[in-house]
Amino acid sequence: MSKSLKDVIPVGHIYIKDNILEKDSLAGVSESKALWAKDLNLPKKAEYTFFAACGYQHMKYVEGMMGALKSASKMGMGMGKVVGISKAFGKVGVDLTGITAKITASKDDPYTPVLISAISVLRKLGLDVGYLHEEEPCCGSPMYYAGFEDDYAEHSRKNYEIFESFGVKKLIGLVPACTASLRDYYPKYIEGYDLEVQHVLEVVVQKLKKTGVKPKVKENVKVTYHDPCQLSRYLELTDEPREILKSIEGIELADLDPEQCGKWSTCCGGGGLEATHPELAERVGVRRVEELLETGASVIVSNCPACEMQLTKVTKKLNANVKVIDLVRLLDESLE
Amino acid sequence: MGGSIISDLKKLVGKENASDNIYERISYGQDAAQPDLEPEKIPVAVVKPQSTRGVSEALKYANKNKIPIYIHGAGTAFKGSPKPKRPGSILLSTQGLTSIEEHEEDMYYELGAGVNLYKLEKLLLSRGYLLPMTIGSKFSSTIGGAVSINTVGHMVDICLGKIIDYVMGVEVVLPNGDIIETGTRSIRRPAGLDYTRFFVGAEGLFGVITKVRFRVIADRKKAYVVGFFPELTDVAHAFQRYYREKLPPPLYGEVLDKVAAEAPFRLRGLGEPKGHMALAITISYAQEEADREAQEMVRVFKSENAIDAHVVTSKREQTDYWDARDNILNILQASEGDEKLVMAGALESSVPLSHLDDVLVYLQTGHTYRALKEAKLFIYGHIGTCDLHGMWVAPVSMPQAERMQIAKEAVQLEGDVNLMWGCASGEVGQTASRMPFFKKRYGMAAHTMLMNVKKAIDPNNILNPGNLEGEGYE
């Protein structure tokens, strides 16, 4: 790493880039990769390959990482002032590499169950998918958004070779940013890129229509939907989540003003901003949650790990009497 | 006091409400569509007071030290008014004044000058009122800015009136820092001398509006009409006929030439426009009445050669046409080959009803300006209120000097139109860039009178200096 890079690029982004390049994981933890799927019997080869991505898998680590970055920035060790990121973490007493707790589906981790639900929903709708397990690479998109275009391009080409070596032709993504990365950015850097990429919600909507299955929740509930930016304005999927919600018996969807939802949805401040401007990210989050609370819904549904982490954190901070739940999990619970 | 300007200002308005960051200073110093800002005219500081008192302190300071001070709402004006004309200035934005007091029992809201128009519109709608103005930049712009220009934007003035008709009074900070109130709390405006009028539409020359007592008006029922015409002049004839038949003025009457309509139509998947597009919205207290007026509009459109004219009932179709019209800048998304387009020159004039057709012809073929003739022209406007716009575009690669020539000729052409037909701008303010025309149109005696008024109220000429003088636009 050159000295001049650290002077202008926020250290959080450099840290994440190094994690991806060295450990092939956003959070720098490769140990717990694919653990969520160990009891699911997912084959490596199938017509459709599920792309789990880093977000839901390592969210617990990411939470710790963001906390550490926040402390680092509070201690004035933001951009240009950090000697070394590990030293910074040492100072604030967080030993990231030392975290080895096994993370599987557990009650205190709301994120990995979303992955299991995604597989479960697809199975209930009659689609069996494959999964690359430990071989699944990190898509590298945080590097793209941080400005490390060359690193991202190289990483994408390496990944494409991995996909090719397993004969992957059709991908089904779950994390919006990673799905957009695989669908819209990889073709810019990979000659002859031929993977067909869909988001799981697109598949679900098609299958719901085809099978005529009628999902149903146990108790009637009023929900509102928070469109993740990457889903609404990158993947341009704003009707699908609403169609799914409306298909569930017992769900009342209370949407915001059209200028605040769908393609005009306000950003919740989750994602990369937390790594560099944690306090601003929190204020952005508060503004968004206040909008969502205006609907009077008792549940905020979304489907992005970064949004869910942010919304959960902010609703707690505001003592709001509202739950944050992933759409895929909600649907899983509503399907027989 | 006696430190640097920025440190003095920070003491006066709070350190988080003043900035000397170069990016802020230039951002605020620039003006939409007229981005050229000479380096020495970059303001030395930007202040955003959070209270009327803060505005007063800043003005007192500027007045005492004879520092020019330029006033912004959101800075969305595009005829040069908020641009600093003199070196070493302070830029003051009233955007921080966002208080809203509801007095529905007396039919008004008391609004801080910085209240955002879109948010205000939303609030009023939720209470069953309508905002009697449609400003193109509403997502950013403020009530203070709109009141200081006195424009209802796209609306037809003779339908619901102009902003002045809704301003029951204002709170104003004078150049010496004194805070005064004007007007009344009654729905009946004061008769005789009502010096509210000194400030509404004065473009910040005499004082800084900090609060607006704004009368509310109950929401109305609407009906939507669209028509497509073979010739632009057909649209002019349609509106001339509509008024000649003594029908009630619509809330909106819009025109968008066929070429201009193409890009926004494509963007919204509407296919090719069938001709030059005209849009109207009729309003009334009762839906049946609004619908009947819309039917009359359709009849009039058809009698003036409309290829197609109908009442638009589908919500989707309404949104599509109106978005296509409201966002005329979409035309810049039409590219010529690989070349992206930029706006080079613009004209806006509100002309006499009987000459709508003559002006349309003149804009297209009547004048002799070379650079304008070579550039691509789009015509649109609020034809129901006789307000026409021309926009000349150029490829992004065109050298700055050529682009400036187009801009200059557009301003000259606008002056010519106003002189020839004895009219004026109805939408975006008369001072700053339009002063050369102003002097020709109204004469030097009128200009001297205004200069004298200005001098009496602002003896040190600290408020927006150079605008009334027409500096930089000679």
Partner: protein, 115 residues
């Protein structure tokens, strides 16, 4: 990455900014806007242009502005639907690439000087 490639990237960025006509409709769209233009898309675009074209302002200030963008693209949608479609969010991303490439280029040079 060479100097000329960096210059090419710079041109691509400033050409895009050139199309922004400062209507400022993106300002209120921006989730990080808290009253100052530099906290919004319009301010970021302007700063990019001023820095790259005229060398105004500090690299640290610019970096802080660019990385405080959430890349949510709400501004970009607003610009596409209502204005000149100058791709503000993508331009901010490109400007981040510019900062990285410039820093890397500088790093390489420093490296060359030290045997």
């Amino acid at each position: 990455m060479s100097n000329s490639e960096l210059a090419e990237l710079a041109k691509e960025i400033t050409d895009n900014v050139q199309r922004c006509w400062k209507c400022r409709m993106c300002v209120e769209m921006c989730p990080t806007y808290e009253g100052w233009f530099t906290q919004s898309t319009a301010g970021r675009l302007m700063a990019i242009n001023l820095y790259i074209k005229h060398g105004l302002g500090s690299e640290e200030d610019l970096s802080n502005m660019l990385y405080s963008c959430t890349t949510c693209r709400r501004c970009q949608e607003r610009c596409r639907i209502l204005s000149t479609d100058c791709s503000p969010a993508d331009t901010i991303l490109k400007a981040r690439q510019y900062l990285v490439r410039k820093a890397e280029l500088k790093g390489e040079r420093n490296h060359e000087q030290i045997p």
